[in-house]
Structure formats: structure tokens, C-alpha cells
């Protein structure tokens, strides 16, 4: 069906919830307000429509309010597949496996941090390597160049490796999706090229849209949940949010398996609507091999974010000369974006395990879910929504409704409105830096190109995308944050 025809069939079935007619195997379901719907690119619909042809897809091809064109499927997309008749696809998961967000609380207020913001950002910049060609932190010598058996341990054990080595606590692991470890991991399914790319990248932030931000709570929408998570707007509380994933290791796994799955498609006469959608049946040997390799990528990313957390804690202790306890540097939560996970849902009154692909989308489990523990059992799973470096971010929580409607999935960020090249042409670096400084944001980044392509107007309005999901009941707003210090991927120390 052509995109224009699909558009004619789309109807709003309830608040901010839209549906097309069935396309191949299922319809498209979209969560967005009227304004976002009007601006939805044809390419996004075309890619979501292509995904409806994938074997074993269940219920819908889902688009969330932050959806924009990706490779194969849009970013801001999800789909669940039957374990028997369904597929697994590296292109649908995405290149940066377990690219994700971590939010860390502090006991510090804006007033306490303001006089030291430059020193803090500069210290973090030194301790968390970022940008192209960066290697693991010099202060963590055992990670400078890990060998294959060491990387095997890391990739198979995930956060448990970090606990064993003293980089994490058990309390940390309870605040990470899946407890910080995917049990499917099998390092024998990893290529030597993936090992070579990943062996010096642990504890590094990366480049592109990866960042580390010091933020202050701006507004609360649900004070009870916020307080249960030890967050309080009245205290002008400072938090740390960062976005990174599995670095070159994850990219290489994705590239390796896309190549293998294209070969599988060719050998099995599978006609693909888009080559980036190359797949293998979930239960095939090829499908299981990818699941095991992808799980290594998931664990690598969890460890990567944990090592960055370890460095953040050290930097704060150094700058504020206080103990970790006094600083209260605890993980609020860590969420994954690009994954495929086996999860159990009620489908037509029966419990069924499915493989949920989330591409630029966040798990959104509601209160009472068996995966959650401690206070999260009553609050629901925290959903961290990163905005642009100018406009701020949100903390939301997952809902039962998400589990019932979207295989427990919601949005992940603002969503781009233009390409990086277009964004670079839109604003010059000096204007952007002045604007950010005027708004009280201190930034350290490498190149002006990298900076301008992430300017606020290159993204959708974060308030609108978050409100769309809130009104639809798929994830609920708890707090908003505004940035006061930002670090982006860099070659060298550059102050703005």
C-alpha cells in the first residue's frame, strides 16, 4: 500500500492514539498529538509500513511521538514478534546496541553547584573520555587494552563483572534495566573485528548525540513519585544524565550480523522490502546466534555506563571534597534504547513470551511488574527522556497501560526534525554558544560542527512529545530538568 493510501486510512481511535488499516500482517499504531501527526514524515510511515511485512509481527507496528526516519525502521519504533513464527533482525534493533540513558541523583542543590560548575565540567571532561579515537580512562589502567578473555567476561557477565571488580554495587544493579545483565550473552558469537573495535572503548562516552549533562530539577508533575525516587524540586536538586551505548563493539556486531542475515535471506529466497530489515527466524541457529551476540553488546553498554558512573563519582568527590555518601550519588535508573528482548505479555487472555524489538524506544513497565524491585514496584519503571542540549529533559514512569497496549514501550527522546547537515547550516557556532551561555549552560565540546548539529531547533519540542505519551497514558511525567553543564564528544579540551 502506498503511503498516501495509508495516510487516508489512519484514524484517531482514542486520545493521541492513531491507527491505520491493516497493511501486510498488522496495522500501524501511532502515539502522537494532532500537531506531531500533521508533521509526520512520509518516510516514517513508509518504514513502519515495511515493518508490517515482517513474519510473526504481533498486534501493530508501533510509532511513538518522537519517531523520525531511521535505517530499516524509524527511530521511535517498536514491534513484538512471536517466538515460534517470528523473526529477529539486527537492522531493526539498530547499530548502537543498548544505546541508553542513565540518571544519577545527588544531594547537591543548584546553589551549591553553581560556583563550581566550570571546575566540575572540566574535571568530568578529563575523567570521562569522549569523542573519536578516545580510549578507556587513563585512571583505569586495567581497561586500557583488555584481551579477548577479559572482554568475554565483561560481555557475558555485564554489571556482575563491574560489581566483582569494585566499579558497581549491588544497589546499582537494582536500578538498571534487566539488573544490568542479559543472560543470553555468548562471546563465541562475537567476531574478532568486534573485539578489536571494543577492547579500548570501555568507559568512553563516544560522539554524535552522546553527551553527559549536569542538570537541575525544573518542575514536578508527580511529587509523590519524585520523592519516592529521592528527587525533590523544592531542594533545587542537581542530577547527572548521560547518553551512550555499546560504542564500536555494538556497531560491529550489528554490521556483522546484517551481513550474515542478508546471506540467509538470499539462501532462503526471502524478499525484503528494505535490505536493512534483513532477518532470520528467531528460533533458527542464525537467529539465536544474533541474540547471543546482541546480548554481549547489551552487557558491554551496561558496563560502559557503569564505568562512566564510577568516574563521575570520583570527579564529584574530587571537586566537592565530600564522601560518596554525603554527595548521595545514586543511580535513579538506567534504560536501554536499541534492543530485542524476550518478555512475557497477556495476549488474548493468555500469557505469551515474545521478542520485543525496540529501536530508539524505551521499556515502560508499570507498577507491580515482576522485573521491578524495591520502591520501583510502586512507582513504576523510570523512563528517562533526553532532550536536546538546550531544551532540557524529562523523567517519566512506565504504566500498566503500556504493558497492555505497546508491549511495555514508550518514547526515548525528542526526535530530530532535520538532518545533522541541515542543522549545521541552520546556526553558526558563536550564536549557539552565546545563546547557551545566556541560558546558563556551560559546555565543553570538540568541534563546532558537532555542536551545531545538536542545537535545540534540530529536535522536536520535547514538551510536546512527552505530553503526547502522557496524555495517551503510555508513560507519565514525573519531573523535567534543565541543563547547566554539558559535555559532548571531543578531540581536545575546548571551552565555550
Amino acid at each position: 500500500m502506498e503511503v498516501q493510501q495509508i495516510k487516508k486510512t489512519i484514524k484517531e481511535i482514542k486520545k493521541n492514539t492513531w491507527e491505520s488499516e491493516r497493511i501486510d500482517n498488522v496495522p500501524i499504531r501511532i502515539y502522537a498529538n494532532n500537531n506531531i501527526m500533521k508533521k509526520l514524515e512520509d518516510g516514517v510511515l513508509e518504514q513502519a509500513a515495511n515493518a508490517t511485512s515482517l513474519p510473526g509481527i504481533l498486534k501493530y507496528s508501533y510509532l511513538f511521538s518522537d519517531a523520525h526516519i531511521g535505517y530499516g525502521v524509524p527511530v521511535g519504533w517498536a514491534g513484538a514478534f512471536d517466538l515460534e513464527s517470528g523473526i529477529i533482525s539486527p537492522g531493526v534493533v539498530g547499530f548502537d546496541i543498548n544505546c541508553g540513558m542513565r540518571l544519577i541523583r545527588t544531594n547537591l542543590s543548584l546553589e551549591e553547584i553553581k560556583p563550581k560548575i566550570k571546575e566540575l565540567v572540566d574535571t568530568l571532561f578529563k575523567m570521562v573520555p569522549a569523542g573519536v579515537g578516545s580510549s578507556s580512562p587513563a585512571t583505569l589502567p586495567e581497561l586500557k587494552s583488555v584481551n579477548r578473555s577479559e572482554l568475554k567476561e565483561i560481555a557475558e557477565e555485564g554489571i556482575n563483572w563491574s560489581i566483582k571488580k569494585g566499579y558497581a554495587t549491588k544497589a546499582d544493579s537494582k536500578r538498571i534495566e534487566e539488573g544490568g545483565v542479559s543472560n543470553h550473552a555468548d562471546f563465541s558469537k562475537i567476531s574478532n573485528d568486534a573485539f578489536k573495535r571494543g577492547k579500548e572503548q570501555l568507559g568512553t562516552l563516544g560522539s554524535g548525540n552522546h553527551y553527559l549533562e549536569i542538570q537541575v530539577i525544573n518542575k514536578d508533575f508527580n511529587r509523590k513519585i519524585a520523592n519516592n525516587l529521592d528527587l525533590d524540586v523544592i531542594k533545587n536538586q542537581v542530577v547527572i544524565m548521560f547518553h551512550t551505548g555499546s560504542r564500536g563493539f555494538g556497531h560491529q556486531i550489528a554490521s556483522d550480523y546484517i551481513r550474515k542475515f542478508l546471506e540467509y535471506s538470499s539462501n532462503n529466497n526471502i524478499i525484503l522490502k528494505d535490505k536493512q530489515l534483513a532477518y532470520a527466524p528467531f528460533n533458527s541457529e542464525e537467529g539465536q546466534n544474533y541474540l547471543k551476540a546482541m546480548a554481549c553488546g547489551i552487557n558491554f553498554a551496561f558496563v560502559n555506563r557503569q564505568l562512566i558512573t564510577y568516574q563521575i563519582r570520583k570527579a564529584f568527590k574530587q571537586v566537592f571534597k565530600k564522601s560518596e555518601n554525603d554527595l548521595g550519588l545514586e543511580i535513579v535508573y538506567d534504560v536501554a534504547h536499541n534492543t530485542a528482548k524476550v518478555e512475557e505479555y497477556n495476549i488474548l487472555g493468555q500469557k505469551k513470551k515474545v521478542i520485543v524489538h525496540r529501536k530508539g524506544a524505551t521499556r515502560s513497565f508499570g507498577p507491580g511488574n515482576k522485573e521491578l524491585s524495591g520502591v520501583l514496584k510502586s512507582t513504576g519503571q523510570p523512563v528517562i527522556v533526553g532532550g536536546s542540549m538546550e531544551t532540557g529533559s524529562y523523567l517519566c514512569v512506565g504504566t500498566k497501560k503500556a504493558e497492555e497496549e505497546t508491549f511495555g514501550t514508550t518514547l526515548h527522546g525528542s526526535g530530530r526534525t532535520m538532518s545533522r547537515v541541515a542543522a549545521r547550516k541552520q546556526i553558526d557556532a558563536d550564536t549557539l554558544i552565546n545563546r547557551m551561555n545566556k541560558n546558563g549552560i556551560y559546555i565543553k565540546a570538540n568541534s563546532t560542527a558537532g555542536l551545531t548539529e545538536e542545537n535545540g531547533s534540530a529536535y522536536k519540542d520535547i514538551n510536546e512529545v512527552v505530553n503526547s505519551m502522557d496524555a495517551a497514558g503510555i508513560s507519565l511525567k514525573v519531573l523535567s530538568f534543565k541543563p547547566i553543564g554539558n559535555i559532548k564528544g571531543s578531540w581536545k579540551n575546548t571551552d565555550f
Binding site: Y71, G72, G91, F95, D96, G131, V132, G133, D193, K196, R197, Q201, G206, S207, G208, R247, G248, H251, Q252, A254, S255, I258, R259, L262, S266, D274, K275, Q276, A278, R420, N446, S447, A449, G450, G489, W491, K492
Partner: protein, 108 residues
């Protein structure tokens, strides 16, 4: 060179790191993707950018590459963007006026 010029401003020939590798794929389009992904792998592994190369393709689509490369560290003032993968999105290879024209979308 096209790939290097996306990442680095004004790439100059004659880098002093030598690289030699082969990639195989029976499909010409995928051979191109594999070739680009191998260059990206070396960017992370050896921390280098290829400055110039000699490429040969044998029967059965085996591509051999002898390349000169420059350490990233020496190019940091001319960095534009990091490339992380070659995608299959909108991939095109066609003959045009006696030349082969390729379109590859890169993940950055």
C-alpha cells in the same frame, strides 16, 4: 578517500601507517559495504584514517586493499564527524557515463 573526507577536512595523501587487508563478498553491493565497514573498523582499532589506497578486485569478488593511513591524533584539528557504520539504506551502485557512481548512507 570519500569516506575520509567526510570525517576529516582536507585529507592529504601519504599517511605513514601501512594497512593491508582483503574483504570477500559474492555480491558487489555488499562487497562495497564490507569494504567501508572494514575501514571503519580500522578507524577504531588502529585509530587511523586512510589517506590513500590501491584497490584490486579479483574474480569471485575478493577486494584487496593496500593503504596509507594517518593517526587520528595527528588530524584532530581537522575533524568533522565520526562515521560508525555503512548502512544499506538507499544503497545505489550504477554505471553513469563510463563511471561507477555509488550512494552509501553512513551512520554517524
Amino acid at each position: 578517500m570519500a569516506l575520509s573526507n567526510i570525517m576529516i577536512l582536507n585529507v592529504k595523501k601519504g599517511g605513514n601507517v601501512k594497512l593491508k587487508f582483503t574483504v570477500k563478498n559474492p555480491n558487489l553491493e555488499y562487497l562495497l559495504i564490507d569494504f567501508i565497514n572494514k575501514i571503519i573498523m580500522y578507524k577504531d582499532y588502529k585509530k587511523v584514517i586512510i589517506t590513500d589506497s590501491r584497490i584490486g578486485i579479483k574474480k569471485g569478488f575478493t577486494l584487496s586493499c593496500n593503504a596509507n593511513a594517518e593517526k587520528l591524533e595527528n588530524l584532530k584539528d581537522r575533524f568533522i564527524v565520526d562515521i560508525k557504520a555503512a548502512t544499506l539504506h538507499d544503497l545505489q551502485i550504477k554505471k553513469q557515463k563510463g563511471l561507477i557512481k555509488c550512494k552509501v548512507v553512513l551512520d554517524i
